[in-house]
Amino acid sequence: MLFTNPFAVLSVSVPSIAMQLFVITMILLVAIGTMMDIVHKKNVKYFFENAKKAKKQAKRTLETGEKASILIKTIGSDILTTAELGVGKRRVAHLLGMYGTIIFWISSAIMIFGYTSSNSNTPSYLPFLWHFGSLMTCIGGYWFWFFLRVDVAAEAHPWYRLIQADLFVLSLVITSTLALIWSFLQFYHIDGWDTLFLALFGLSNLVLFGGVYWSKFAHIFYKPGAAIQKNLAEADESRDNLPLPSNKPKQFGLGIKRESPKHY
């Protein structure tokens, strides 16, 4: 199962062009949803206004080389390893979900566009990456869903309480889960059920990519921008109006190790 391209098997009953059109539609839905989100929340407008304000407060001008180095550092630290989340379970869960999803999406696109024709031979690593990615997303996503969500861990709400803020994470993990189940049913020729789970897999994709305007999906695009702006503000000494970091080492006691927010 792990080394079988489920889309190649599917191409016997569903034409490749239909699958490719589905992927293109999903990309268009994300683009439209994000644009609507930007217009409605005015967050990009706020972001640029804030950046302009920070530039005015800057105490030094950054050289192009310096800016490039900050950009590279931000990509390496804040974006690729989500340093914003600190060291802990939240970061591990987020990284699992993030890289799992990226691997899942990229391998899906490659398999659908490159290896769904009747004479194509899918390299075995692609289906493996597809399954591995969806499994990573499931582990990270369910870990977050059941144990790390603030509503559950700190606000003592039950794990099954659904709110709009859950739309993104839930549709993401359900999509990955349904993908795995569909692949399993298809591989073992459990007819009927595989068609049902294929339909559910398609539907969950529609909810995930069609719900961008209502969900937290667009944070994928906003967060890197905010991280770059934060590090630039640090370097040009406008520092978002924050005070200078303390320069009095070991003068004020032994320091504090932060407790994780889980007192219930």
């Binding site: 914003e84 004020f252 006691g253």
Partner: protein
């Protein structure tokens, strides 16, 4: 000066939700970011401002005494056990302050109430609060001030 959250910086980790003594820091049901649901019930203790690992929480001054253009930001340095404040007045004057978070090792000197004796009925009806006078180190009774020592105008 009640607090508010910069949505672009908040990652919804919940440290503020956990620490807020007034239970008004919650997670927004649409954006999964922290939000002060009731600014007028804010004690202005700044616990959330200090606890936020992303410096996403700020204090908003009331317009009557802190008119437009000022800002107050805080940075918490756990390693050094310090809180640094930066106050920027609207005329551009800046003041920076640095204070200890605590002078005692964290986790010590916490009263162990479960090990204390259960209060008797007499204790419950007493004017003294629980663990007083030992808890306040006033075994000889509450301090009294002679009326003659009162300032003029406060006799009763």
């Amino acid at each position: 000066m009640p607090t508010f959250v910069y949505m672009t910086k908040c990652d919804g980790c919940g440290h503020c939700v956990d620490i807020c003594p007034s239970d008004i820091m919650h997670i927004d049901k649409t954006t999964r970011r922290a939000v002060n649901i009731e600014p007028n019930m804010c004690w202005e203790c700044y616990s959330c401002v200090k606890a936020c690992p992303n410096q996403a929480i700020d204090a908003r001054g009331y317009a009557d005494f802190a008119p437009m253009g000022h800002s107050v930001r805080v940075l918490r340095d756990e390693e050094r056990g310090t809180i640094s404040w930066r106050i920027k007045f609207r005329n551009g004057t800046e003041k920076n302050f640095e204070s200890p978070i605590t002078t005692k090792p964290w986790g010590e000197f916490i009263p162990k109430l479960a090990e204390e004796e259960v209060p008797t009925e007499d204790d419950k009806n007493s004017q003294l609060l629980y663990t007083e006078p030992n808890g306040l180190n006033i075994q000889t009774g509450l301090p009294k001030m002679k009326k003659m020592k009162f300032k003029q105008g406060v006799y009763y």
